[in-house]
Symmetry: D3
Subunit: 246 residues, 6 copies
């Protein structure tokens, strides 16, 4: 029997994915990434120099901040600036994005430069953190290219050790499924975000039992699905970056 | 002698203006407004009910929040959520947008409903507050239409008493000019933001001498320019809203 | 027909104005300014040196902070220090005062010195921001005199390029009126604050339609009234400063 | 040998004390209190009703907030509202003033009414907290009189069980002295603030060894001095209140 | 070849584990848990009633807060209360503890009661979050027992659906190791925290590549190690709870 | 007639006192102090160097921070880190502890070193601030010993000029009593905290009338009781420190 999802996809199929580079005019790298109904604006700001605690190390620094526009969601969320503090979820996702990107950065090759990735969710329909990581990689690659062209990165240095992408997987009614939209996300018994390099190494695996605990077999099925989804995303990232990095 | 500006415009000419309605999928009204290199995402959230201090008044409430994405500008700005407080400029502009929109709202006709306008600057190239007001009106009109279609606004009630738009004007090298981009804005001796209704009434006039004080004649010249610019914007707003409100 | 106001004034008449210099003993300049029932304590703190971003520029810096005592108003307002953040109105007025004073300051002549104006409202009865600007000028003039006497400002340098004052005007029941107390302010259809130099140049014009939009004619009538009011204030400021600057 | 102080006073002499009632026009009770070079504006805000945790108790509530204007001191202090938090010293003094006033309040007789005392230091020259308590009592007495006249306090009820005042004492060069100005305060080996009722009961005794620890004899000498100073203040308070409470 | 660790343990051996119940006298459940040099004070506060958004649901709520004493670590950390905000790491761990405990709670059986788990790290030597989860379960079990004894939980209801524990695993010099102290944690190439139920189900799996990405084989080896470590912890938890739950 | 207290003590008897040194493994000095049901974890962090404003003075700095764990009390208190600000009581006690310890420190002998005392209340049963001061002294002594052994304090220098302890006293049903537990504290008519040196000098005396004002006789009786209690505490501190300082 073939299971079909509400949006007509097969269980192991990604939502329509697209990357619109150069979306924000001022950023050294910028990419509006779309995973179905989820859209995240990822921009990379390249600045020469590093935070004080890295000065003189010869190494660069990459960090990230994630946020949602108030009306990315079905009902409006108050701004964290108005509330005067950043919520736990925002903190957690910002940290995840930063770690994920640093996993494919050679800080020595980057030299004493800082790249800040801003990931602002314009529309939220599940998988905002995985879309953010996937899009941020594209913005990061463009910012590094910018640094190379402007002489801030040494000739011949390659700060990128590979590519990185992320996808969510989950078990719904007993079936492992790839890239969950919001309606599936809230129903998932187990929910996992998997960050991988373009050559199939694991960077982050975050699985959570939403209802009953999950077994090793279920974990294996989810990881297999995520491995394939990330392989597909890596190809799409490479295609999106082709024109300028050819 | 004809004065031509860096971008080839005549002194009394607006930058290319566009309105992309429905930009954020979840909002009851949403409009990505473009004034040349400035782009502001304006979304209107319609909710039934009003803040506690208006309960039982039979009147609605319209308010606005303005913010900039960190990389809307040439160099990255820290997020106000991270800093833990909202700056004076943000407060000031949020209040201006709210007052401007309330000027064309009949709160009785709106009934006990609240509309929050979120104006997030994606790209900043001068005139972000005037673009925000102009685009927010379009989002507001759509949200009111949504309220009417969903029965939250009484049949026959018309909460909009007219349209509202805003434009900046300034004196540069002695010449009054309309709709200043960033490069002109920083050079302007006098800088004025003028908010007007579609039928030519003044809603807000905010003029500031950046260098020498300005005279009544200069003020008059600027107001004349703004009057014409706002008349043009009112037409463009009406055209943008045409398909659904015909 | 002669229109008389609740307090017996003619439409174009200022409230009783007074300046009590030296009110705060420690400040380099201090002035308790009275506009009828409104009293604002304006003090100027002169310090040698400038903020980091002005260092080495050879230029000085003038800034202002506005606040209300909790019981300046009819009912008590919570302290912004207790709330942990500054409201939008406070920010807006502080920025307006600072800009207004900088309009008559020659930062080169001031040299690398900083003057902070603190404007604390003791009693609020309308027009607190215009009283604050008008009184702050007097405190500023005294602080500059202090700087000159103490050798912090170069001999022969004149950091003041003129005087500055402000007054509110509004349309009430169709009649333009000068210097509105609270009871008039809340009834005004249009409300305008006009900051001018002692020789009649405009520094800031901020007009807001509280009810219906206003016309160019109404704007002109209000500006004429404000021009005359500010001329009167400039004379009173000069008289107040006479003893020490003679 | 007679010891004379810098300002010519005898060791057991108060500075010139004055009370200017009705200083803030809107407050139900208001008093500008002067202790030599120290001036504190104390205002009492009377509101019907009590905080949630006292509702239905039949009892009233009295509390206090203390603050300094930025330029009360010799060099300017940043505003606590701008810093975004209240310092420990401010908290400590606010709590002391509140406790001191509650010591002479019969909350049952006050009924479910709240009185907030705002004590804002205009000029600081030592002893601001003791001046604040002493002046706040006068404002409080006026606010209670207001409550009685306006029917918020029951006819015949007397919420005041007595008067309260405070004075600082300290040991300087081995000599106990009364009511220290700033120049003495910083030199004092031991510093004590003593709050007493008008009939000589102790409400608060806060003694601190600034240098060497102090002995029981020194403590006794300081308490004797404070007892006499507070007796004098009680007389001055009664005189200040005479006209309206006769 | 047998690998021995700095502290003499085998790679698959836990550090000395202990549970001291009733450590905080006032809490309904309290446990000082020790994992070698790491000590976390876990206390459970039982209150009748639930947050507003759960009222009337018939369901209870369990949540957790994690914090470190300033000197739990090798050098002192500033207090988050003094800094005025909670850091991302604290938020992230608090959320993880809460989710882990909710995985073994039947909220219907708990009824409309709230249990807050406070996990304060007294000494930090690696694995503070896993020790916190493991100790918090013990405190939670005692608080539920308290609720049952005091009639807040219905007779016969069993809010606990099982036990939960957590342990860290990591790869060091190519060898998977269990329960890492700080000196191993900083050297680990891959670091994973695994939360499991007492019967071997996975609740949370959080793996992070600190250096190179990890492979599926490495992931499997780590999960096997964690499965065994959690099985051991489940036995120790049961023993610790024996006296009162026999 | 002999008065016996609820816990069987005589009015002039301390609760069981104990000091557990070295409680937190990482701190240079650490002491878990017990006053009956009150337990406070006091740790001293020794760092070389001083805050900016003391640099080059040749003097050291000692400061303290006090806090309560959420469940030290009978019902849970929200964390101040979560509330985002520190309460007045916390500030007040932190300042008191710091002043008390500085009273027995010779900052010249300490040299340019900083010692921060963290006093975290694990269980609160009255007298937490006095226990904190008493225990903090023990932690401080150990930290100074550590500084001497590690060469941060000059050979032969003795930064401690003596010992310091604190105890609460109060009048209950007319009887002065020593070292009040919570049940007595809430009933006390007068409440006093007395900080003294080991040789009987007064460092801080803070007395508060909770109900009726107190007389000089009552004050004297309380001070006599506190003097004796502090003498006992000084002996216990010396015994606790004996092993290492012999």
């Amino acid at each position: 029997m073939t299971i079909t999802r509400a949006d007509g996809r097969a269980p192991d199929q990604l939502r329509p994915i697209s990357f619109e580079r150069g979306f924000q005019k001022n950023a050294e790298g910028s990419c509006l990434v779309t995973f179905g109904g989820t859209r995240v604006l990822c921009s990379a700001s390249f600045t020469e120099g590093v935070p004080r605690w890295k000065k003189g190390s010869g190494e660069g620094w990459v960090t990230a901040e994630y946020a949602m526009l108030p009306r990315a969601t079905n009902t409006r969320n108050d701004r964290e600036s108005v509330r005067g503090k950043i919520g736990g979820r925002t903190h957690e996702i910002s940290r995840l994005i930063g770690r994920s990107l640093r996993a494919i950065i050679d800080v020595k090759a980057l030299g004493e430069n800082t790249i800040v990735l801003d990931c602002d969710v314009l529309d939220a329909d599940g998988g905002t953190r995985t879309a953010a990581i996937t899009g941020a990689y594209v913005a990061l690659a463009d910012a590094i290219e910018w640094g190379r062209e402007h002489g801030a990165i040494k000739r011949g240095a390659q700060p990128l050790t590979g590519s990185v992408s992320a996808v969510s997987v989950g078990i719904i009614d007993g079936t492992p499924m790839l890239d969950l939209p919001y309606v599936e996300d809230v129903r998932a018994e187990t929910d996992m975000n998997v960050v991988m390099t373009g050559v199939g190494g694991f960077v982050e695996v975050q699985g959570t039992a939403e209802g009953a605990p999950f077994s090793k077999d279920e974990l294996d099925a989810l990881l297999a699905l995520a491995t394939q989804g990330n392989a597909d995303l890596a190809v799409l990232q490479a295609l999106a970056l082709e024109p300028t990095q050819a």
